[in-house]
Amino acid sequence: MSIVIDHVSRHFETFAAVNDLSLDIAEGELLALLGPSGSGKTTLLRLIAGLDFPDSGRIIIDGRDATNLPAGERRIGFVFQHYALFRHMTVRENVDFGMRVMPSSRRPSRSERRERVERLLGTVQLAGLGDRFPAQLSGGQRQRVALARALAIRPSVLLLDEPFGALDAAVRRDLRRWLRQLHEELAVTTVFVTHDQEEALEVADRIVVMNAGRIEQSGTPTEVEARPATAFMHSFLGGANRFAVEVHGGVASVAGQPLPRDAVTLAEGIGDGAAQGFVRAHDLLPLVAGTPGAYAVGRLDHVVAHGGTVRAEFATPDGRSVEAEIARDEWERLALTRGQSIGLGIRRMAVFPE
């Protein structure tokens, strides 16, 4: 169901974990809250769940003001980062818990409860493990028990806190794909928190990037990936190289050399003076010796081949490290060896105030 977050703030002592934040989440959406640790994404998730309450603002779930509604009355399935499975109960009892505590007027019959538990265990691929205790399961299995337990109350919204955080890389990849499929099957509005942009890009329909309690940028994975809107977004998404830039009359210069206008995106309302420019790894071009258009010089430090591309790290004379990403065959044509210096060109740069 739809969720409207309307100018919500939550302070811890003097620190604003969520700061005047507004966000609409559409019915059936699969949304990622992405941000560095301390950006307020988990606090926001807990506010939606009713595990914490805002100091100001409103939270409306499916048209109903849920701001002060306790967690148990929101019909929200919450999957905790460390799963929070009840260790003294079997897998089956864990999944059954939400139905067991329902008031008898709403509680399904014993046989229906049993059937629903078995069906859910099938859905999360844990059929046959119902009699195990959480301690006897692997991390990935525990994660899926937690999910089944949350789904057992037929939640209108599913909230997941760092759902893949505690798992190893291979399990994580499988679970991501599986979560997407599950979301397509169940079509339940799903919000998950992550600090891993790759995870957010791969799983979510829409990504909301948070920083310091506010929304930094929101959009589809492609939009966010292709057009980072702020300086924070550039540094957070990674693979961006930062250059000191001088802006004069709408023209940006690096190390005294002006860049062509069509290679530069200037932040709105930026004035003349010192600024910072971001060049993403695939927009930084190692140039064949003698080719004009170099804005910096780099000494090759380290190379990583990854599929059809190569990531190369260069050390600049001022002691910084920059990263370029180019196609493998192009890289081979350059025939660089470690320690060799080369000119670096800039294909595209985004410029923001200092």
Partner: protein
């Protein structure tokens, strides 16, 4: 050479530990039972069946039956407050809980005497309402509550802090009421530590001498608990009787150790 010296050193240390433990712990324990049965089994049971002794056993059990549940509730409430919430005075509360451990039981008894005694702060007022606390059963229960207050809380606080509140939040988000959450999630999570704390509380409540001796008045057949009764019998030169009573406390202690051993294995 070196290895041989190490082995010899180790053997010597173990032997020393065993001899010391035997002399200071085992011999007295054996002696209790030897002395208790010195006049024969019949005399032993005769001593235990003496009315004053039976009353002392009854009073000791009564005290434990009141003190243990009250301090379990107190311990859970305190541990909950300290482990789950941040509030001003939290650190102070943690220190306050420790007071009964750092204060000599005699001092604890004396404090209660000053509070509720005839010349005490509250004594005269209570007396005018017809309430007599000193030298009666309520005094024994009150000081026992005081000296055993920390046991349950001290077991629960570190455990509840380590477990965190995610399990309870999970239960709440699944629609459980606070009481259901406590009964179905919190209590099972802390049950072994809770029982362990209760066991320690029980052992101390039954064995407490100092604080109780100050406030009870040690009136035979009325306000005499087992530990006080042992002293009275001993002062009467009824050695076999004193040791017969002492053997009951020793048995309780042994049973406590046994249960504790089993529980530590289960909890661990």
């Amino acid at each position: 050479m070196r290895a041989a010296a190490d082995t010899r050193g180790r053997t010597a240390l173990i032997a020393l530990a065993l001899v010391l433990a035997g002399l200071t712990l085992l011999v007295p324990l054996v002696l209790i039972f030897v002395s208790a049965f010195a006049d024969g089994i019949g005399a032993y049971f005769g001593n235990i069946a003496a009315p004053d002794t039976r009353h002392a056993i009854f009073l000791t059990v009564l005290t434990a039956v009141i003190v243990v549940p009250v301090n379990m509730v107190f311990g859970i409430a305190t541990a909950w407050a300290v482990a789950r919430y941040e509030f001003t005075g939290r650190k102070l509360l943690i220190s306050l809980i420790e007071i009964p451990f750092s204060v000599s039981p005699i001092v604890a008894g004396t404090i209660y005497l000053f509070l509720y005694g005839q010349q005490g702060l509250l004594g005269p007022t209570l007396q005018s309402w017809g309430v007599q606390i000193m030298f009666s059963v309520p005094a024994i229960v009150l000081v026992s509550l005081f000296v055993t207050a920390p046991f349950v809380a001290r077991e629960l606080i570190p455990l509840m802090q380590a477990q965190g509140s995610e399990d309870e939040e999970a239960a709440l988000s699944l629609g459980a009421s606070p009481w259901q959450t406590f009964r179905l999630v919190t209590l099972p999570n802390i049950r072994w530590a809770l029982l362990y704390g209760a066991l320690l509380t029980n052992a101390r409540a039954m064995g407490e001498f100092g604080a109780v001796s100050v406030v009870s008045g040690a009136i035979r057949g009325q306000t005499n608990t087992l530990p006080l009764h042992i002293e009275l019998l001993y002062n009467d030169f009824n050695i076999a009787g004193a040791f017969a009573s002492a053997s009951i406390l020793a048995l309780i202690a042994l049973a406590t150790l046994g249960i504790k051993y089993v529980m530590e294995n289960r909890a661990g």
